[in-house]
Amino acid sequence: MTVFVDIGALADIPAQGARLVKTAQGCIAVFRTADDRVFALDDRCPHKGGPLSEGIVHGTSVTCPLHNWVFDMNTGAAQGADDGAVRTYDIRVQQGRILIDASLIRANRAA
């Protein structure tokens, strides 16, 4: 069973925007869509390492700010002609708080 940890309030992320969460494995971008759904993806475009958290969020997609690769936040897969994917993480909103898969902390202890 996945255990979740609280990383902040939904209101801390602007709609159609993102904030970063630092983990021992690197930064994770936490996105909020226009209709208040949240997604967590590695903050690193597989193309040239662009910070996805700074991309324009549209629908459930985000466009990398460096070279306009577009990723489906549901799956982490690059869309269109581009080939690649970023890792996604379990995340959810409960009573206005954002909870993320706690194994992100544990993975560091093992490392």
Binding site: A24, I56, H58, G59, L66, N74
Partner: protein, 809 residues
């Protein structure tokens, strides 16, 4: 002997439960009914019609005194229950006590009151009971503010507006009723409310309610103040669980009940808005009535289980027709079927998953709502009827959708060609008179004969008039729409569209939320068109403009403070040096625009660095913007032995007037003090070369992937006139340039002669352009660094959470 039943709360759920009990087994219980309100059960859903004057209180009473007497109910109205003694099975109110064999808690919900200063002032009400309603009925001719743009808040607003109040709705989120509606439907709703005189302020956070003896005004975080004789807080409700808590019953968000509506005490039951069943709370009436049925059976020792079903929402505001049910968020494996009829203000969206409807949002035409809702509840497989599903049950094949709905919806007087003042009606008339080609149209009406940017739209109107004959239209601005940039801009103007959702709705966008290429363009077109009304959408901006710094390939940023006309002081240089050291800036570089670039700044350091630079009087250089960058100057006649005019002074004046302005693409200026042109003015977007006789202004230069020399626009002996011409041509470019076209590209499309006719020859037009530029600058001539480095904004630049720290513990 009859058993004793005590009920706390005479609301709709407990009322329905009592009806069921008396119907099935009239002699099973002696009932004692406590109610804090000094009256019995009435239909709270009908408070909105009472408020708007469509009904009276007497008409909404469900149970009158006769009904209670006929069923032998011991009514203790106006008595608040203060304590439940579970050991002795006694309920104590502030006036009396009652023993029970079975107790039903039906305390409902309490309004959520935002903890802001002034929340306790007289004149601040919730919208829960008849007292609140009565206070709101007395607002005719007064100012009222409703905080909360959800179902309840909007009904309150519409009701007070119907009573003749001046109503403003303040809503925290980006669009109204965001829990029930998506942005497109929220926009249509807002438009309808505004039509009936209700002002809507979205993205508004309440800071305080002002007033000495009673509420007088509401102050928002952004500094806006709305006068308010009455403030209605309708931001939400929470289950009223205090009694249950004090009695040590199991309470989570609500009072926890099992499928038989029993609490953690076998003699105590609960129903209505105060309960939590399998983690879920309830606010709509349908599931509450289901609970009432189940609890009635439980109390009569029959087996019954409560299982909630999907419920649908309708807004009870006369004339606003909306319907929403199910789950309509985007998601994995979900698909949308969207229908938009902009002309009639209709929007329908079905959300599908595995060939089943899981969500419905409808606005404007909700006639098919219950049919869709039936398919949703039943989980009907819709694959076979998918093609025609959105058209509803009556649809039996027919014509395909009209791709030119937006054009068709324009009124005859809508202006299509701005240069020549040609309306849609004139074009239609010309077509009727035999003008069937673009050349003929230009010959007889001049439509699209000047700048030419409206060509696509003229063609569409012609096609519409000719009966939908195919016309080769230029490619759309992106994959989200077939309209060109030029057409979108013209339609924004002609149809008065003032937000991104409005444009997407009215022009039939094919995607939800647009894409990275149309969103920044729309944001620009809107702020250029409606500088005072439209507020810039940061989330529709490319990273550099959103963060007011240039992102580098490693994710750090570069910071470039403005140096007016390239002039600086020892104090500014010291502040820049201090900032570079304090924030470990790896590289300090002089730019080509005569200022200093601090490269390699971490995002979380940006607001701190800006704040330090602000303290020394330095502001953003906008080195990242599709807007005014720099005005490069040479030293001019003040120092230079060959200088003819004060080129530095003119550059500073221009930069002070133009800084902060947004343009279709970046805008670089240069002012050289003599034809030797040390400021390289003739490869800028706008260049001024000073001569003995005055100022030569030229435009359309470039020194990037394309290298272009500017072309002569005007010469003038007067510095003032030179400034006016520069501002006017900038505004003309702002109003007509396609997003991401530099001046040289725009000039190639519209022609230098046309630009000259607008800003050099036509003095009235020049003055009007300058005036419009100044209106826009009254909003944008301010430092974004100062706005984004306040104590409230600074934390937003840092990571949301740092899980590496937790791991180290």
């Amino acid at each position: 002997m009859k058993k004793k039943l005590v009920v706390i709360g005479a609301g709709m759920a407990s009322g329905r439960m009592l009806e069921q009990i008396f119907e099935t087994a009239p002699d099973a219980y002696d009932v004692t009914l406590f109610n804090a309100e000094p009256r019995g059960n009435y239909n709270r859903l009908m408070l909105s019609p009472v408020l708007s004057g469509e009904k009276t209180y007497d008409q909404i009473v469900t149970h009158d005194a006769d009904w209670y007497a006929a069923h032998g109910v011991d009514c203790r109205f106006g008595q608040s229950v203060v304590r439940i003694d579970r050991d002795r099975r006694v309920v104590h109110s502030n006036q009396s006590s009652a023993e029970y064999d079975a107790l039903v808690i039906a305390t409902g919900s309490a309004p959520f009151i935002i903890p802001v200063p002034g929340k306790d002032l007289p004149g601040v009400v919730a919208y829960r009971d008849l007292e609140d309603t009565q206070a709101m009925m007395d607002t005719a001719g007064k100012d009222a503010v409703v905080i909360g743009g959800g179902l309840l808040g909007l009904e309150a607003a519409a009701g007070m507006a119907a009573r003749g109040a001046r109503v403003t709705v303040i809503h925290l989120m980006g669009h109204l009723m965001e829990r029930q509606l998506d942005p497109a439907a929220g926009y249509l709703l807002q438009k309808d409310l505004e039509k009936r005189g209700i002002k809507v302020h979205c993205k508004g956070a309440t800071k305080a309610i002002l007033g000495s003896d009673r509420a007088e005004a509401v102050l928002l975080e952004d500094g806006t103040v709305y006068p308010a004789d009455l403030v209605c807080m309708a931001v939400g409700i929470r289950p009223e669980t205090r009694l249950a808590n004090d009695a040590h019953l199991e309470v989570e968000r609500g009072i926890v009940v099992d499928d038989a509506m029993r609490t953690s005490d076998p003699h105590v039951f609960a129903l209505g808005e105060c309960v939590e069943h399998r983690g879920q709370l309830f606010g709509l009436v349908a599931p509450l009535y289901d609970q009432a049925k189940v609890l009635a059976k439980t109390l009569l020792d029959q087996v019954a289980e409560f299982s909630p079903v999907q419920t649908a929402t309708k807004l009870k505001v006369t004339g606003c027709d909306l319907f929403s049910a199910g789950d309509f968020a985007d998601g994995d494996g979900r698909e949308d079927i969207v229908f938009r009829d902009p002309g009639r203000g209709i929007y329908k969206r079905l959300v599908l998953q595995d060939n089943r409807i899981i969500g419905v949002v409808m606005y404007g035409d909700t006639a098919d709502g219950s049919w869709f809702y039936g398919l949703l509840k039943d989980g009907t497989d819709i694959e076979a009827m998918r093609e025609t599903l959105i058209f509803g049950p009556a649809f039996q094949g027919g014509a395909s959708l009209d791709p030119m709905a937006a054009v068709a919806a324009l009124p005859p007087e809508a202006e299509i060609c701005g240069c020549n003042g040609v309306s849609k009606g004139s074009i239609m008339d010309a077509v009727a008179g035999g003008a069937c080609t673009l050349d003929q149209m230009r010959a007889c009406t001049k439509a699209s004969a000047s700048c030419g940017t409206c060509t696509g739209l003229v063609q569409q109107v012609m096609a519409f008039a000719l009966g939908g004959e195919v016309v080769d239209a230029p490619a759309g601005m992106c994959k989200c729409t077939d309209h060109t940039h030029e057409d979108v801009r013209r339609l924004i103007r002609a149809m008065g569209l003032k937000s991104i959702p409005a444009v997407m709705q009215e022009l039939g966008w094919k995607s939800v939320g647009g894409c990275h290429s149309c969103r920044p363009a729309l944001n620009y077109y809107l702020l250029a068109e409606y500088p005072l009304e439209y507020s810039d959408d940061r989330q529709s901006r490319f990273v550099n403009e959103r963060n007011h710094a240039n992102i580098q390939k490693d994710g750090t940023y570069s910071v470039v403070p403005r140096m007016w006309g390239g002039v600086t002081t020892p104090a500014e240089l010291r502040a820049i040096a201090d900032a570079a050291e304090k924030y470990d800036v790896p590289m300090v570089k002089v730019t080509g625009g005569q200022r200093i670039d601090l490269l390699g700044v971490r995002k979380e350091d940006l607001p701190h660095m800006w704040s330090d630079l602000n303290a020394a009087g330095l502001v953003s250089g906008h080195a990242y913007s599709k807007g005014l960058r720099t005005v490069k100057t040479c030293v001019g006649k003040e120092f230079c032995r060959v200088g003819t005019q004060d080129s530095t002074g003119l550059g500073i004046k221009l930069e002070k007037l133009m800084w902060g302005s947004w343009t279709p693409h970046k805008l670089k200026l240069g002012v050289s003090g003599c034809p030797r042109n040390c400021a390289e003015a003739t490869c800028k977007d706008i260049g001024i070369v000073c001569v003995d006789s005055g100022y030569n202004i030229s435009i359309g230069g470039a020194a990037g992937m394309e290298v272009k020399e500017t072309e002569h626009l005007a010469a003038t002996p007067s510095e003032d006139e030179a400034i006016q011409i520069v501002l006017a041509v900038t505004q003309l470019y702002r109003e007509h340039g396609k997003y991401l076209d530099r001046i040289w590209k725009w000039m190639a499309k519209v022609g230098l002669d046309w630009i000259k006719s607008q800003v050099v020859d036509d003095l009235d037009n020049r003055a009007a352009l300058v005036a419009r530029f100044e209106i826009s600058q009254s909003v944008y001539r301010r430092d974004p660094w100062a706005d984004l480095s306040t104590p409230a904004e600074t934390p937003k630049w840092a990571p949301l959470a740092d899980l590496t720290l937790e791991a180290a513990e």
